[in-house]
Amino acid sequence: MAAPSTAGLGRRLRAWLPRIMPVRWSRYNPSYLEPEVKTESYQKPLEELTEEEREQMELKAVRPIKAAPPSLSSSVFSDPMVSKFTNMMMKSGNKVLARSLMSQTLEAIKRKQLEKYHKAPENEKETIECNPYVIFHQALKNCQPIIGLSNITRGGKTYQVPVPLTDNRKRFLAMKWLITECRENKHRRTMMPEKLSQELLLAFNNEGPVIKKKHVLHKMAEANRAYAHFRWW
């Protein structure tokens, strides 16, 4: 008596599919692995691999792999930091413009450094760095704050408490400061590559307004070091 009705119910439930499939919160099954895009890792002969790399290869043969996002590239010229910076410069999805600005910035850096190189006397020529990527990375590293401030409320009052920052947050702050500095505090008619290359070169030499902003943050953290005990992590 109960069995036929439950079987019918099961059949009716299986036939029903929702007309709307939820996509917003969908995610890969945790068993999916990240794709490996660098070609160098596939060109190594089998003997040179370490134990863990061999295990990783065997795991990859069995587990499914996520689709590679379009921003991930296997080219030797792609740099994740440069891509991140380009994305932060992008406005309303205009990636073409952001990428062209970025390449013009790097070109401007190279031109300025080459000019300096050719004008410098012989003994100083080695000290001048001409690789724009090296300058970019070093400038960003010089701009990263080491300690940040966070608002913590105790007894009704909000205090600025010095707090260690994660790597992602440091990188984000450095890039954000550079871009806002270039967008807001410069003459309206200067082009972005020109402004950015100037800022990057100043930051590379530990000068300029972005480094000053970082120092101001450090000074505030140092002034508020008494409140450091309000942290609970």
Binding site: I146, I147, P162, N206, K219, E222, A228, H229, W232, W233
Partner: protein
């Protein structure tokens, strides 16, 4: 002959319980005398701030060197190491459910109790 149905007070009076000073039950439990499946939410004791010494050493170095990062590289590296270690310990600790520092937090206790509820009826 069926047993005559007297009202309850008659039976009780006749049995002489009241004369033997029988009291009504002193405890009338408003709820069932069984453990509930959850614990009250207790305000969790906050942990202390980590890496304060490294931070103060780094700040002292900054004060001496006018906030330049180059001369203070050693202190900065020590601060970063301390922060990384504290972060790793926090991640491990979250998995071990903090049983080292006294009792479990009430949220975790509630989750466990929900998995193993009180038996309400005989199975």
């Amino acid at each position: 002959m069926a047993a005559p149905a007297y009202p309850a007070w008659v039976t009780r009076w006749v049995s002489g319980q009241w004369r033997n000073k029988k009291r009504p039950p002193a405890l009338r439990p408003p709820r069932t005398l069984a453990l509930a499946d959850k614990v009250a939410n207790r305000r969790e004791q906050l942990a202390e701030a980590t890496c304060i010494t490294e931070m103060s050493v780094m700040m002292a170095c900054w004060k001496l060197n006018d906030f330049n990062d180059a001369p203070c590289a050693q202190e900065i590296r020590m601060f970063y190491d301390c922060v990384a270690k504290a972060e790793k310990e926090r991640k491990n600790q979250n998995g071990d459910t903090q049983s080292s520092r006294g009792n479990l937090p009430s949220s975790k206790v509630n989750k466990l109790l929900k998995r193993f509820p009180q038996m309400t009826r005989y199975v």
